[in-house]
């Protein structure tokens, strides 16, 4: 009896040691990954001349918050207000709408492509896949022409209308749904449930982790999208964060400290969303999501 316990303890210790070693390695890797960001934050608190001094002072002797004041135009010290607050609001608005709808449409379509045997589904899906390979620069001018004919150039509709659907997202959800075993679906159908009901009540709850990942990815794409708003938006009142940041960067490119302060400001909401999304991940799992 004691011998068995001893072996078990030994095994547990071994597992714990492995855990600790791996944790340390991964943590070191993680820290290396974020070194550029540490540099970014540190630079955002320095004055222009100190940014590139060697040896590199990771934690500056002082915290020069005037950079942030400049970016946000607190106290009107900047020659021009870049209206970051307004850009934030615009970004949040467009991104939330696009995330909400594109996750919905991706799930619906992804499920259909994966599980529903409708005629033409393989061909249509292949078409989707094919369009992923066309770089976005190419559709920029044609989209512009279409938007112009619709009369919506300069408005947020130019970003919302195409943004409610994502081809990559559809692909992702399809792959996910393919991995979901068919027995659940068949059982529901035997019980007489329609396709939509099956989808809503049985399949969808299962896909919460995948949906959460998709939501976060779509959030990132939309938040960081800068080519489309640059071309389609004209008035500063409609600008999103990347455009405001690009404008800011263009004029102050030589002042890395300012550009870094602006970048850190643009980055913060994204980090918060990710942290919040993490919690949702766990919640989705424990609320009976994953078949265990």
């Amino acid at each position: 009896m004691r011998k068995l316990v001893k072996i078990k303890v030994k095994k547990l210790n071994k597992k714990l040691i492995t855990k600790i070693i791996v944790t340390i390695i991964i943590w070191c890797l993680a820290i290396t990954m974020i070194i550029p960001f540490l540099w970014m934050i540190s630079a955002s608190f320095k004055i222009s001349g100190d940014v590139l001094k060697i040896p590199i002072k990771w934690i500056p002797n002082y915290f020069y918050i005037d950079n942030y004041k400049f970016v946000w135009n607190i106290g009107n010290i900047a020659p021009r207000d870049y209206h970051f607050a307004l850009a934030y609001f615009n970004s949040i608005k467009i991104t939330s709408i696009n995330v909400f709808f594109s996750v919905m449409t991706s799930c619906l379509a992804g499920y259909a492509f994966a599980k529903i045997n409708f005629r033409g589904s393989k061909v249509v899906f292949l078409l989707y896949l094919a369009t992923m390979m066309i770089p976005s620069q190419v559709t920029l001018i044609p989209k512009f022409i279409i938007f112009d004919k619709m009369g919506i150039i300069g408005s947020h509709w130019t970003l919302i209308l195409p943004g409610v659907v994502t081809v990559t997202g559809t692909f992702l959800m399809r792959q996910f749904f393919i991995g979901v075993p068919n027995d659940l679906r068949e059982a529901a159908q035997i019980d007489g449930a329609g396709e939509f009901r099956t989808f809503l009540q049985i399949i969808l709850p299962l896909s919460k982790p995948a949906m959460a990942s998709l939501a976060m990815i779509v959030f990132m794409w939309n938040w960081n999208n800068f080519m489309d708003p640059l071309v389609f938006l004209r008035d500063w009142r409609t600008f999103t964060i990347p455009v405001a940041l690009t404008n800011f960067g263009d004029e102050n490119i030589t002042d890395y400290n300012l550009v870094m302060a602006a970048s850190v400001s643009a980055l913060l909401p994204v980090i918060l969303v990710f942290l919040a999304g993490q919690k949702y991940f766990i919640k989705g799992l424990t609320s009976g999501g994953v078949k265990g």
């Binding site: 449409t105 409708f118 896949l129 770089p135 044609p142 081809v167």
Partner: protein
């Protein structure tokens, strides 16, 4: 009236994809068709929409004589072939390790993911500084005793490698996110059974995890490959294709043709070549997936 089961299935199917496909047609397919049409012309968009001169596919022939095009193609292929396997391999290992062994998963995942969620403008600028002679990377090399560390972005022999390294750093987070969410959905009982049978961690990894993750791996290879062929942001900000043409990539040249030289027709034709390459590669992968992807 008796509607056949197949027809009913069809209708349901199309209803499900309805909103998706409408937007897709309007804002993806139609612009693409437009671009296909003008790829057979030498349209200069500043001339207005009525000045389209069709040159019967001369673009497709001329581009192979264009050394900017051929160099861009080669650079892009080198870039992709280096980036894709390394990123996915590292991401897979990290995801499994993080899931199984690591204490404090959330901050680690956040750290790995941060490059991906950042604005490409900001991180490109940071890496320019990192690669500069007075930046951390060069300092690190010097402190390790290397007298003449490479000039990275200033040296045509090192610049593409510099971009590749930066892109791996930026792209790992995405792959890790996809892998970790897939891993979380893996059925635990297979592992428990394997453990009872005495399989080691490594064996579980190769015999259970990798096969089960193969649909995800397929997805990642496909999307990462497609994405890497379309690299643009970091080139635009960090090197503008230079020094010389050492980091000149395909989409950068497409962008330059369209918006610096105003040759929309030519740019469109190059995008179609890009498309054909990716399409063929993906098709080959699709056919091959039966061999190694388990559903």
């Amino acid at each position: 009236m008796k509607i056949s089961k197949q027809l009913r299935t069809d209708i349901t199917g199309y209803l499900f994809i309805g909103p998706n496909i409408i937007v897709f047609l309007l804002f993806t397919i139609i612009p693409i068709i437009f671009s296909l049409v003008i790829s057979f012309s030498n349209w200069d968009y500043t001339q207005g929409f009525s000045n389209i001169n069709f040159n019967k596919g001369m673009n497709y022939i001329n581009m192979w004589k264009d050394e900017w095009f051929t160099k861009s193609l080669i650079n892009t292929i080198v870039y992709s072939v280096s980036l894709v396997p390394i990123t996915i391999f590292i991401a897979l290992i990290i995801s499994v390790l993080v899931d199984k062994y690591v204490i404090g998963k959330a901050p680690v995942k956040l750290a790995l993911f941060m490059p991906y969620i950042s604005n490409i403008v900001a991180i490109s600028i940071v890496w320019v500084v990192m690669y500069s002679p007075y930046g951390p990377i060069t300092q690190l090399f010097k402190s390790m005793g290397i007298k003449n560390p490479p000039q990275w972005l200033g040296d045509p022999h090192w610049s593409l490698l510099a971009i590749i390294i930066m892109s791996i750093w930026a792209g790992i987070g995405y792959a890790v996110l996809i892998y970790t969410s897939a891993i979380q959905s893996l059925p635990q009982e297979l592992y428990e059974a394997a453990q009872l049978d005495g399989a080691s961690g490594f064996q579980q990894f190769t015999k259970i995890t990798i096969p089960l993750l193969s649909p995800t791996t397929f997805f990642l290879i496909t999307t990462t490959l497609i994405g890497s062929f379309q690299v643009f942001g970091q080139i635009y900000i960090m090197t503008k294709g230079g020094p010389g043409t050492s980091t000149h990539v395909l989409v950068y040249y497409i962008y330059t043709s369209a918006f610096t030289f105003f040759k929309m027709g030519y740019a469109a034709s190059m995008s179609w070549i890009l498309f054909i390459i990716l399409f063929v590669v993906t098709l080959v992968q699709w056919k091959f997936q039966d061999k190694w992807v388990n559903y």
